[in-house]
C-alpha cells in the first residue's frame, strides 16, 4: 500500500518470529555442511542422504503436526508418547502377520487415538483441568494399561503394511510423501477453513472468541482429537518401521517432549494463537539435522541425550529471552 496515511497507522516491519525458524534451519544446515566437509565425510552431503535424514524423523513430524494443533489452542499434549506405544502395539497385535487384518488394525488404532483425544479434550475443556496435568495423567493411564498387558514386542506386521515405512514412490520414501501430504492438509485446514480460523481465535483470546459466538470448548476438544489421531498414525508408522509394536517405543523416542520442542522451535508460541505448520516442519528438519550433526561428528549416544536436553531448553529460550514478562 502506498497510501501515506496507511504508514502512519501501522508500524509494519521485520517480524522476527516469522523468520526465526528459517534462520535456524539455515544455520543448522550450514553447521551440518561445515562439519561434514571439515571431517572429510562429504558422502553425507548427497541428496539421498539428506532424504534419509528426514526419513528418520517421520514419526516425530507426524506427532508434531498434531501437537501444533494442541498448542495453537493454548493447550498441550504430553500423552502422545504413550499413545504412540499403545497404538503401535494394538495395531501389531491385531494384524499379527495377517494382511487381511491391516484395515481393522488401522481403524482400531485411529479409534483409540480419537477416544484418547476426546477424553483429553473433555477433561481440559469441561473439567478445566490444567492441560499439562490432564495429559500427564492420561499418559500414566495409557502406559499403565499397556504395561499390564504386554511387556515386550507383541504381534507382527505383515510385509504389505511395512510398505508404509519402507515403500518408495518415484524414488522418494512413501512415508516422506505421506508426511508432506499431511502437512499440506494441516496447512489448508489452519489457513483456509473456518475451523482453522477458530483455532487461532481460541488460542489467541479465548474470551473474545467466546463473546464472538465461537464454541470454544468444542474447538479445544477437536484440536485434541486431531493431536491424538495423528499420534496414533505415528504409532502405526513406527509399528510398520519396527515390524512389530513394543510398549516402550513412544517413551524411548521422547515423542511428547520432542514434538513440543519441534513446535516451539518452529515459532508456534506455547501461549497459543500464533504459529503454523511450516514452522513445525522447519523445526522437525532442524531436529533431524542436529541428530545428523551428532552422528557425523561422532558424538556418543549418551552425550547426545545430554545435548538434546540442552538444545530443547536453548530453543525455547531463543524465543522467550527477549520478552519482558516474568515466567514461572
Amino acid at each position: 500500500m502506498s497510501d501515506p496515511a496507511m504508514t502512519t497507522a501501522s508500524k509494519t516491519g521485520f517480524r522476527f518470529e516469522v523468520w526465526a525458524p528459517a534462520i535456524l534451519l539455515l544455520a543448522a544446515l550450514m553447521i551440518y555442511v561445515i562439519i561434514a566437509v571439515s571431517t572429510g565425510q562429504t558422502q553425507y552431503l548427497t541428496a539421498s542422504n539428506l532424504i534419509s535424514i528426514l526419513g528418520r524423523s517421520i514419526a516425530l513430524g507426524i506427532t508434531a503436526i498434531g501437537q501444533t494443533f494442541a498448542i495453537l489452542v493454548a493447550s498441550i499434549d504430553l500423552s502422545v508418547a504413550s499413545l504412540i506405544s499403545a497404538t503401535a502395539v494394538l495395531a501389531s497385535v491385531i494384524m499379527n502377520g495377517d494382511p487381511a487384518m491391516i484395515l481393522p488394525a488401522i481403524l482400531a488404532a485411529l479409534a483409540l487415538g480419537g477416544l484418547v483425544g476426546l477424553l483429553n479434550g473433555l477433561v481440559i475443556a469441561k473439567l478445566e483441568v490444567n492441560p499439562l496435568i490432564a495429559t500427564l495423567g492420561m499418559s500414566l493411564i495409557i502406559q499403565g494399561c499397556l504395561s499390564a498387558v504386554v511387556s515386550n514386542f507383541a504381534g507382527s506386521v505383515p510385509v504389505e503394511f511395512q510398505l508404509f515405512a519402507y515403500g518408495e514412490i518415484g524414488g522418494l520414501p512413501a512415508s516422506l510423501i505421506f508426511l508432506l501430504v499431511l502437512a499440506i492438509a494441516a496447512w489448508v485446514v489452519l489457513r483456509f477453513t473456518k475451523f482453522g480460523s477458530d483455532i487461532y481465535s481460541v488460542g489467541g483470546n479465548k474470551d473474545a472468541a467466546r463473546f464472538a459466538g465461537i464454541q470454544t470448548d468444542r474447538v479445544v476438544v477437536y484440536a485434541h482429537i486431531i493431536c491424538s489421531v495423528l499420534a496414533a498414525i505415528a504409532g502405526l508408522y513406527l509399528a510398520s518401521r519396527l515390524r512389530s509394536g513394543a510398549p516402550w517405543i513412544g517413551s524411548d523416542g521422547v515423542y511428547d517432549l520432542e514434538s513440543i520442542a519441534v513446535v516451539v522451535i518452529g515459532g508456534t508460541v506455547l501461549a497459543g494463537g500464533r504459529g503454523g505448520i511450516w514452522g513445525t516442519m522447519a523445526g522437525m528438519m532442524i531436529f533431524s539435522l542436529i541428530d545428523s550433526i551428532f552422528n557425523v561428528a561422532g558424538v556418543d549416544a549418551f552425550a547426545k541425550q545430554v545435548m538434546r536436553g540442552v538444545i530443547i531448553v536453548a530453543a525455547v529460550a531463543f524465543y522467550a529471552v527477549r520478552s519482558k514478562r516474568m515466567v514461572a
Partner: protein, 506 residues
C-alpha cells in the same frame, strides 16, 4: 412505547445489582430509541460499566428487566445480546492482536464456501464497512492488528459493530486514548451511525462530547439515576447531578504553607522511550497531582521513577542525592513507594490474607530466614493496628484479601507502605473501582500521609479528584509535562492543557 410513540430499541427497567460488599446498581431505568445518541455519564464507580455488562449479558441483574424492541429478554451470555443486535465496544479491546483486521471483523462468522473461508469476500466487505465511515484509507484489511495504533484499533472495533448490523452500539469512553483529530473522526462516525438509524449508548465523563453528540442524557451517581434529560442540558446541570455532594467534606483540606516542607525529589531532563524532557520538584508534605489523557505518559513517568522502566537519561535527586534505580526494589530501599493503578493485576496477592498483603514489603526487606511475624518495619500486632486505624473491614485479617471490597483492598496496600514510612509515595488511580463513599477515606489517608511528612504523587484520570485532592497539578501530554496549576484550577483549563487544544467547545 414512550410519549413520542416510538418503541425504544432497548429499554432497561428497574435494574439492580449487588456484588459482595458493594451495591453497584439500584433501580436503574433507561431507554434508547433508533437513531439517537443516549449519553450515559457519571463518575468512576457510578455504575456505568456494570450497567453495560448487564445489557450485554456478562452479568445477570438481581432485579429488573431488559426489553429489546418491546419484548422482554434475558441475556445470560454475550453471544445472545450480540445476536439481539447489541454490540459493545469495551475499553479493553476484544481484538485478537495476531490476526488481521478482516479476520477480527469477521471473528466467529467468517464467510465460507464449501467449508473454505472466502477471504476475498471478507476483505471486500471489510473495505466496504471501513469506507462507510471514512476509515478505508487509514486501515488495510490485511494489516495485523498488533501493528496498528490504538485509535486505528478502535476503528476496527467500530467497523466490527457496523458489519454486525448492530441496532444498538455501546461505546465505553471511546475517546480515552484518542487525540483531537482522531476524536473528530470518531464523532463523525457516530453521526453516520445515527443517520443510519442505529441507537448509540455513549459512555463518557467529558461534557464536551455530551454537548457535541448526545440527544438524551442519563446521569448515574452511586449506582442510581441522578438525573435524566430529554434534551441536551447545560454542562453545569450535568456536573451538579454527577457530583451532587458537598465537595468540602469529600476531599481533605489542602496543605497550608507551613505544612509544605523541604524539597524531597527533583527530576531534571528525565527521558526514556515513553517520556521525555521531564522536569519537576516534589516537596515533603505536598500532594502533587498528575493529570492528562490516557497514554500521556503519567504512568510511564511513575514507573521510571520507581525503577520498573527506568529513565535512560536525565538526573533524579532524592533528598539531595543523585539516584538511578534500575528496579523497584532499589527504589523502595531508597524510600519510594508505589500503589499500582491495576490493583488486582499489579498490587494484590489475591490468594493471601489481608495481613500478608500488608506485610508483603516489610518482609521483602527483612532477612529471608527470619520469622514472618516480625521485622524491623512491622510485626503482626503493629500491622493489625495500622489496619484497624484505617478501618479496614474484614471478618478477620486472616481472610483472603480477594474477598474484600476495592476500598478495603486499597487500604491494605496503603498499610503495606505505611509500615515502611517512605519519603515519596506514588498513587496511581488511587480510587479506581472504589465505592464512591470509600473514596473520601482514601483522600484523607493521602492527606494524613502528607501531613506526616511524606511527599505524595497522585496520578489520576478522574479530573475532579485531582482538582479536589492535589495541592499542585502537573499536566502531561505526549510523554512530557506541558503545564502546571495550583489548586483552584478548573476542569476546563486542565483539559485544555491535557488535549493541547486552543479552544474548547464546552
Amino acid at each position: 412505547m414512550n410519549k413520542n410513540g416510538v418503541t425504544p430499541v432497548i429499554e432497561m427497567r428497574g435494574i439492580s445489582k449487588s456484588f459482595p460488599g458493594v451495591r453497584a446498581l439500584n433501580d436503574v431505568s433507561f431507554a434508547v430509541e433508533p437513531g439517537e445518541v443516549h449519553a450515559l455519564v457519571g463518575e468512576n464507580g457510578a455504575g456505568k460499566s456494570t450497567l453495560i455488562k448487564i445489557l450485554s449479558g456478562v452479568y445477570q441483574p438481581d432485579a429488573g428487566q431488559i426489553l429489546l424492541n418491546g419484548a422482554t429478554k434475558s441475556f445470560t451470555h454475550p453471544v445472545q445480546s450480540l445476536k439481539g443486535g447489541i454490540s459493545v465496544i469495551y475499553q479493553e479491546f476484544s481484538l485478537l492482536p495476531e490476526r488481521t483486521v478482516a479476520q477480527n471483523i469477521f471473528l466467529g462468522r467468517e464467510p465460507t464456501r464449501r467449508g473454505i473461508i472466502d477471504y476475498a469476500a471478507m476483505r471486500a466487505e471489510t473495505r466496504r464497512v471501513l469506507d462507510l465511515f471514512g476509515a478505508g484509507t487509514r486501515v488495510d484489511p490485511n494489516a495485523i492488528v498488533a501493528d496498528l495504533d490504538v485509535a486505528t484499533q478502535q476503528m476496527v472495533e467500530i467497523a466490527k459493530a457496523i458489519s454486525l448490523n448492530a441496532k444498538v452500539v455501546v461505546m465505553d469512553e471511546p475517546t480515552a486514548a484518542l487525540n483531537e483529530a482522531e476524536c473528530e473522526v470518531l464523532f463523525e462516525t457516530v453521526d453516520r451511525l445515527r443517520e443510519r438509524g442505529t441507537a448509540i449508548i455513549y459512555i463518557t465523563h467529558r461534557m464536551r462530547e455530551v454537548t457535541r453528540l448526545a440527544n438524551r442524557v442519563t446521569v448515574l451517581k452511586d449506582g442510581e439515576v441522578a438525573a435524566q434529560f430529554d434534551h441536551v442540558p447545560k454542562p453545569g446541570d450535568i456536573v451538579r447531578a454527577m457530583v451532587g455532594r458537598d465537595i468540602a467534606d469529600f476531599y481533605a483540606p489542602f496543605a497550608t504553607e507551613n505544612e509544605i516542607g523541604a524539597k524531597v525529589l527533583s527530576v531534571r531532563n528525565g527521558q526514556n522511550d515513553r517520556v521525555s524532557n521531564i522536569n519537576f520538584d516534589l516537596s515533603a508534605g505536598e500532594i502533587l497531582g498528575f493529570a492528562g489523557i490516557q497514554g500521556a505518559g503519567r504512568v510511564a513517568l511513575a514507573m521510571a521513577l520507581f525503577g520498573e522502566h527506568p529513565f535512560t537519561s536525565g538526573k533524579v535527586r532524592l533528598n539531595g542525592k543523585t539516584v538511578a534505580f534500575t528496579n523497584p526494589r532499589d527504589a523502595i530501599q531508597a524510600g519510594i513507594g508505589l500503589l499500582p493503578g491495576d490493583r488486582k493485576g499489579e498490587g494484590l496477592v489475591l490468594m493471601q490474607s489481608v495481613r500478608d498483603n500488608g506485610m508483603l514489603t516489610a518482609r521483602a526487606f527483612d532477612t529471608l530466614l527470619s520469622s514472618h511475624k516480625a521485622n524491623q518495619y512491622a510485626d503482626l500486632a503493629s500491622m493489625d493496628s495500622l489496619l484497624d486505624a484505617m478501618e479496614v473491614k474484614a471478618s478477620s485479617y486472616d481472610q483472603d484479601i480477594g474477598n474484600l471490597s476495592g476500598g478495603n483492598q486499597q487500604k491494605a496496600i496503603v498499610a503495606r507502605w505505611l509500615a515502611l514510612k517512605p519519603k515519596v509515595l506514588i498513587f496511581i488511580e488511587p480510587t479506581r473501582g472504589i465505592d464512591v463513599n470509600a473514596k473520601a477515606g482514601i483522600y484523607h489517608l493521602m492527606r494524613d500521609l502528607a501531613r506526616g511528612g511524606a511527599a505524595v504523587m497522585m496520578i489520576s484520570s478522574d479530573l475532579p479528584e485531582v482538582i479536589g485532592a492535589a495541592d499542585r497539578i502537573l499536566v502531561m501530554r505526549a510523554g512530557t509535562i506541558v503545564d502546571e496549576f495550583t489548586h483552584g484550577a478548573t476542569e476546563h483549563d486542565i483539559m485544555l492543557a491535557a488535549t493541547g487544544e486552543t479552544e474548547v467547545a464546552a
